[in-house]
């Protein structure tokens, strides 16, 4: 027969244990959820640091922390009023600011590299954060313009041939039902593919691609008539370097004027999110939302600078600086990147400004290097 105090011990023990366990489990549950969100936030902040570091130093890196949780819904969103933010609609953690311009496609592991558009008098730098992918090109017409489009896109994508990189960006062709791996039966690295492209059009035309595309494959069709093409389709540009591009499942026409527009569309892809927006559309709009305002501001600054120093410069330099200022003044303060005619004018002015700046360099009015 159990003594009374033993029974008391047992009952008291059970009550206390249940109470303690209840509070511990509730607290742990809340704590674990908070910590999980915190970790997601830390990963996104860490990504912004790495992107900034690559943007400043130019030293590429791999970012592998995205594999811990699901970040597939994340994208960088530019707003009119303030710094762009990384938005993740499927998560409670969203709205992490990132002032570094970055072309970002989420993946378990991404390669972060630096790229730039060189205008001579200014350079637009951008970080590119891209997961492993094979870019498959399908040029339906064998023309120099088509080949130039491919060359431009490949030149502005990262070179992942380093041994340390776990992320691989590779390139291939597609002809009808077949994907053509033209580098010894495998997809090509950037430098090898550029060598192949540099030899010019292959002569024969390709058939529209009907091959089975894997999850990490990005198809880019180059054709003068983009009908119901898969993924991304690009019309050859006109003489001013401006052309149209189309994305599968989207009725919009995307105007491109520089290689980064095409990179943004190719990297983004045709996959739609829950709101019906394609990855290509999101990255294209973000890229132009950060690029165009910076271009306008830089043009204004450079124009004023040219006027300021024209009077302080040697006699052969002054008039050239004034000429540069006049051309840069034609670049509007608010650029509509969806208007073909505005993009014609913009490219005209940019090309002219680049030539004038080259003249300044040739005359010795501007230094080529400012380092050691």
């Amino acid at each position: 027969m159990l003594a009374v105090h033993r029974i008391f011990q047992m009952i008291f023990g059970v009550i206390v244990s249940v109470t303690i366990l209840y509070f511990l489990i509730t607290y742990s549950g809340d704590y674990a959820a908070v910590q999980k969100d915190r970790q997601r936030g830390e990963i996104l902040v860490s990504f912004t640091h790495d992107a900034r570091s690559v943007y400043v130093t130019g030293i590429s890196t791999n970012f592998t922390h995205f594999s811990k949780y699901d970040f597939s819904s994340c994208f960088v969103n530019a707003t009119q009023r303030s710094i762009p933010e990384i938005i993740c609609p499927d998560s409670r953690v969203s709205g992490v600011p990132i002032e570094t311009p970055v072309i970002f496609k989420p993946g378990k592991q991404v390669y972060i590299g630096r790229d730039s558009l060189d205008y001579g008098w200014w350079s637009f730098g951008v970080a590119e954060a891209i997961p492993s992918a094979t870019f498959v090109f399908n040029p339906l017409e064998s023309t120099n313009e088509g080949w130039n489009i491919m060359t431009n896109i490949v030149q502005h994508l990262p070179d992942t041939s380093d041994d340390w990189s776990v992320v691989k960006v590779s390139f291939a062709f597609c002809d009808g039902p077949q994907i053509l791996y033209v580098c010894g039966g495998r997809a090509c690295e950037k430098s090898d593919f550029l060598s192949i492209l540099s030899s010019g059009p292959l002569g024969a035309s390709f058939s529209p691609c009907t091959a089975n595309l894997g999850k990490n494959t990005r198809l880019v069709t180059i054709s003068a008539s983009c009908g119901s093409n898969r993924e991304v389709c690009v019309n050859p540009p006109n003489s001013k370097g401006v052309g149209n591009a189309f994305v599968e499942g989207s009725a919009k026409t995307y105007v491109y004027k520089d290689p980064l527009d095409l990179v943004a569309l190719s990297v983004g892809g045709a996959e739609k999110d829950d709101f019906g927006r394609t990855g290509a559309e999101k990255i294209y709009e973000y890229k132009n939302s950060v690029h165009m305002p910076r271009l306008s501001l830089a043009a204004q600054v450079m124009s004023k600078r040219s006027v300021l120093i024209a009077g302080e410069s040697p006699s052969e330099c002054g008039p050239v600086y004034i000429q540069l200022a006049q051309v840069l003044d034609k670049i509007p303060s608010s650029i509509d990147y969806t208007s073909v005619s505005e993009m014609y004018d913009l490219n005209d002015n940019l090309n002219e400004a680049k030539q004038i700046y080259q003249t300044l360099l040739d005359l010795g009015c501007e230094r080529v290097e400012y380092g050691l």
Partner: protein, 202 residues
């Protein structure tokens, strides 16, 4: 336990009872002692964990800024114009090259030689920078790309600044820059030097 005691007392014999009681007391004391020991061990584990976590709490957040600061300082000083037009003395980095390879070279008439001028110029710039921000101890260490050693095995380097920073371990905050590699062509030869900056609070 109490039923055992009742049985013993009923069986009779105070001696047995007393022994039993003594045994009970001893075993109870031992049980109490082991419980106390257990509690103390548990408390010590928690205190140890708290100390460990507190140790982790000391901030390491300044790393990105401090690395940027010291590397930028080295680069900025090396890129600064000295005011002299002689090609061997135009920038501070030129002066450092001159001080290492041709220390007796004079940058102009009536001007001290490269070695003295390098010391004075860098000292002057670090003082100006210190006045604008925060004064600090500094040491620029210059070594060739292929390490040259003296008879005692120490690498031959040109040191500009506070030599004690090289070996001292008493500074609370000592920052090292990445080595800056500079190549210059002097005559028909190309030379490469590695320059590193060490700074510390004054």
């Amino acid at each position: 336990m109490s039923s055992e005691i009742t049985e013993l007392s009923e069986e009779g014999g105070s001696c047995r009872l007393q022994t039993a009681i003594m045994g009970n007391k001893i075993s109870q004391r031992m049980k109490a002692q082991s419980s106390m020991l257990l509690i103390i061990i548990v408390i010590m584990i928690f205190v140890g964990l708290a100390v460990f976590l507190l140790g982790l709490a000391s901030t390491v957040g300044g790393n990105e800024f401090t690395a940027l600061y010291v590397n930028n300082l080295l680069l900025s000083v090396m890129r600064t114009d000295t005011g002299y037009t002689d090609s061997r003395c135009k920038l501070v980095s030129d002066l450092v090259f001159c001080a290492y390879f041709t220390p007796e070279w004079q940058c102009g008439p009536g001007v001290p030689n490269c070695l003295e001028l390098a010391n004075n110029t860098i000292s002057n710039y670090m003082a100006i920078f210190g006045n604008a921000t925060k004064n600090m101890k500094y040491l620029f260490t210059v070594t060739p790309a292929f390490v040259v050693r003296d008879p005692s095995g120490e690498p031959i380097s040109l040191d500009i600044g506070d030599n004690s920073l090289k070996k001292s371990k008493t500074e609370s905050l000592k920052l090292y820059s990445h080595p800056l590699v500079i190549s210059k062509t002097v005559g028909s030869n190309q030379y490469t030097l590695k320059i590193q900056l060490i700074i510390s609070k004054k």
